[in-house]
Symmetry: C2
Subunit: 276 residues, 2 copies
């Protein structure tokens, strides 16, 4: 069964064009490699009602996992947890374990001389105020813990917007927990590089292949037009068993190779780009 | 009056984590510099009903402009115009001027030896099939024209997903037309670099400043924790008049400088990052 995932990136700096959102891209890669499917990703400003609306819309589609990035810090425009609490009608409470994590983070930062002192201020305490029922995820890089909670059949994960913190929490604290969610899923992506530079020539071949192999995702990639254009064809598939996934992709590739050969197009290179 | 803009990026390759969507970021920059406000950006797969749903949701918020990227090419998974036609209940028709653009593009590509021949195939003709009432936007880099249409008070623009083509159409063919939409708008973004590395120390200052200058957008940026952290504070504002925008930002900056000085924080550098 497909594991549907949605991503919500929070931050005015993204919509102002001030910061390029690389978090969503990285999370899409992680989810794909885990065998999940990102159905939609959205970028919203630091406004409680807009974050809440995006959450509500995503929850309405009943994905297995919603990942939010950004808006977990100490400033008043860090609104992700407030929006989440409002949306789920859960109170915001100081979480004792989260508070210890925040304190420990500032102790370390103070020891290293990176902050002036390790006092627990109101702003710092804010990062330990979670919606009821949520669990903090240890942040080895910065101060704000990640947050995990469940509502109905959906897991909701909140990660900081700073990429190093986001990646660290995902890989060290979250991935082990996600193992259950993605148990048994396999993802295979095979990339074939052709010597053909004309997408309109490949199009009918790719179209017919996709129609004959409905389960496999077939994509020819438009490259920048230049002197050495080589169109690539990607065959990819998520599924529940390694053998089944591989045999479906193999069958599509054999079929594709025959059709390309008949059209006088050569395959220059092939590789399995991602596999789990 | 605010010029609200929404962006929809179309492509399975984005959600698979195969391609980083730099188009949305670039468009956010362009819109901000024109004095507009990107309210939301979404990434959707190559599925007619999902693209249509994203369009419908965006149209429901009545922005002045919706920009879609991707899904304009010759393959059957290029579905943006089909989704748009369905959503607006307009028929898809061959547009004669668009057909000439596509033919001219393939003539050029064939002359340069980049495609085998310049025949008008079904796949190539597809790029000239537009929803009724739409106008093509000349693509100097690739074959697929951009598309512009209006519905109610909203302009809808479709651009190719290949960044060079997207940027070329936006800058050469679209920006002159957008002049009307953004007439008289001004955007100013002032960035102040501080010698403070502790966001929780800046937070109360930034919070109070934002509360006292509600019109100005005030943001302190969380940096990666490292040896030389310098938090930056951004003051930005879109408005209808140059003098008014500048004086509001100037007032917020004076106020900020005083409060920082009182907290023993120095401003190391200041710059107007974007201005129109």
């Amino acid at each position: 069964m497909d594991i549907d995932v949605e991503i919500i990136a929070v931050g005015n700096e993204l919509l102002l064009g001030d910061v390029l959102d690389t978090n969503t891209h990285w999370l899409c890669q992680q989810v794909s490699e885990l065998g999940g499917t990102v159905r939609r990703a959205v970028m919203v400003p630091d406004r409680t009602e807009v974050i809440g609306d995006a959450l509500s819309t995503a929850l309405g589609r009943e994905p297995r996992l919603i990942i939010l990035t950004g808006g977990l810090g100490p400033t008043s425009d860090d609104l992700t947890l407030a929006a989440l609490a409002t949306q789920l009608q859960r109170p915001l409470e100081v979480h004792e374990q989260a508070l210890k994590m925040v304190q420990a983070a500032y102790d370390t930062l103070a020891d290293r001389g990176l902050v002036h002192d390790a006092r627990m201020t109101e702003e710092r305490r804010k990062m330990a105020v979670l919606p009821r029922g949520a669990e903090p995820l240890h942040n080895q890089v910065g101060a704000a813990p990640g947050v995990l909670l469940q509502t109905g059949g959906t897991w909701i994960v909140c990660l900081p917007g700073v990429p190093a913190e986001m990646k660290s929490i995902f890989s060290a604290s979250l991935a082990p927990l996600l193992g259950d969610l993605f148990e048994g899923r396999v993802f295979l992506e095979r990339v074939l590089v052709t010597d053909c530079g004309d997408e309109s020539l490949l199009a009918p071949i790719v179209d017919r292949l996709a129609a004959d192999h409905l389960q496999v995702y077939v994509k020819s990639r438009a490259q920048e037009y230049g002197e050495n254009v080589q169109l690539r064809i990607t065959l990819s598939l998520s599924g529940d068993g390694r053998l089944q996934v591989r045999s479906l992709v193999d069958a599509a590739e054999r079929d594709l190779a025959e059709r390309l050969a008949r059209a006088g197009i050569s395959i220059l290179d092939r590789a399995d780009a991602i596999r789990r």
